[in-house]
Symmetry: C2
Subunit: 217 residues, 2 copies
DNA sequence: AAATTTAATGAACATTATTAATTATTTTTA
DNA sequence: TAAAAATAATTAATAATGTTCATTAAATTT
């Protein structure tokens, strides 16, 4: 009796795992399709029929795995952050730790969004709606630049003997300035050319990061 | 013959004016309706049928006066800026000219968008699309805070004998930081409470404006 | 092998922007 | 002033898209 009971549990557990694995697989297909379309055609031409076609299923199938299309799309945030982080790591590879590296990371972070406007829209513009992981997702986005530069700030803190709150202020300022600049450039084409935009980026970011050396203790 | 010819021209001109006046009236009705709905229900429930109903016409009539709904909506930008400017002027009325007034104007500017989220969306989020006045409209938005504070910066320049480029840098930084903060707060609920948001605003804006006194010549 | 559960789908519905065809109104002309 | 012409307003139809639901197909269990 005991044996049979245990056996049933094991079987149930295995089945559960299989089911979950299967579910994760299906979610993965749809997410992969979504990411490809986002990076390719962009948000304009992204719709449930497109996504499903790219994934090789019917659009109705999508709703067996996601509450709605917003949930699916926002589940891609984490993947894009990983991809972005990888690109940045590679880009700033040779630069020695210090303020210059923080600048480079921040500029590469901005460059990523310029390269993939739909990812910018996903991160900053799209309304979160009623997705389950609303606050965690928002937080993930808000803290992204902080996480990208955390290690380097730690280095600078020791190197220049900086105050914790000075660092916090600089980090916050960087986060807000980058978001604001991207917003104007991506949504309002201000400045009107990428050259000017790149120059403006240099001015703003250099100013913020260079300021920390002045505030050395 | 000459007389008749002139008469025809005059008649044509008069008719033209009447027609233009009529057209402006109709546009005004639709714009008024749009502004009311935007400030009330918000962008979510804004659609051509709503607008037309509020204006007292059919939704199809709208298309006799505007290329599309985007053109109509973006034509409201100027009016909202006037309204916002008026509110700010009244709010900072008692404050004497100087850095403190620049801070107050900038904070009132942000408060306006918090009060009317749809206006924020219209200014910063909505895609411009193919509207005729694309660049002028974008420029109007980009330079708004500059124009609101221009007079006060002029005052500070004389008072503190500031460099023109220092002012330009501070203005740009204010513009970007405010946009970024609003973007995170309105679209990503970061910080999660208005109290925290207001504190963050104070920290950022005060830091930028106070910096100019340090840079006195 | 039959019964049952699970997954996938096509058809239908709802919302919304836009266009085209039609009707109503106003203006012009003879 | 009455017919003709031009203008304005509206209704009906179209297209795109997200979502739901009843049904079919597949698999798993008994």
């Amino acid at each position: 009796m005991f044996i049979k009971f245990s056996w049933l549990i094991i079987k149930a557990t295995l089945k559960m795992n299989n089911k979950e694995i299967q579910e994760q697989l299906m979610k993965g297909y749809f997410m992969q399709a979504t990411k490809e379309l986002l990076k390719g055609e962009g948000l304009k031409s992204l719709n449930v029929r497109n996504i499903a076609q790219q994934a090789g299923y019917s659009f109705a199938t999508l709703y067996n795995y996601f509450k709605d299309v917003k949930e699916l799309v926002f589940l891609c945030v984490e993947d894009f952050q990983k991809e972005c982080a990888a690109e940045i790591t590679q880009k700033v590879n040779g630069i020695p730790s210090g303020p210059e590296k923080i600048k480079a990371i921040t500029k590469a972070y901005m460059a990523y969004f310029v390269q993939y406007p739909s990812v910018f829209n996903l991160f900053f513009i799209e309304k979160l709606g009623d997705i389950g992981q609303k606050q965690p997702t928002a937080n993930l986005i808000f803290t992204f630049l902080d996480r990208l530069t955390a290690e380097e700030w730690g280095f600078c803190r020791k190197e220049f003997n900086l105050q914790e709150n000075e660092i916090a202020k600089a980090k916050a300022e960087l986060n807000y300035v980058t978001a604001g600049m991207l917003l104007f450039y991506m949504n309002r084409i201000q400045p009107v050319s990428y050259i000017e935009f790149a120059q403006a980026i240099d001015i703003q970011i250099d100013a913020i990061v260079d300021r920390i050396e002045i505030n050395k203790v």
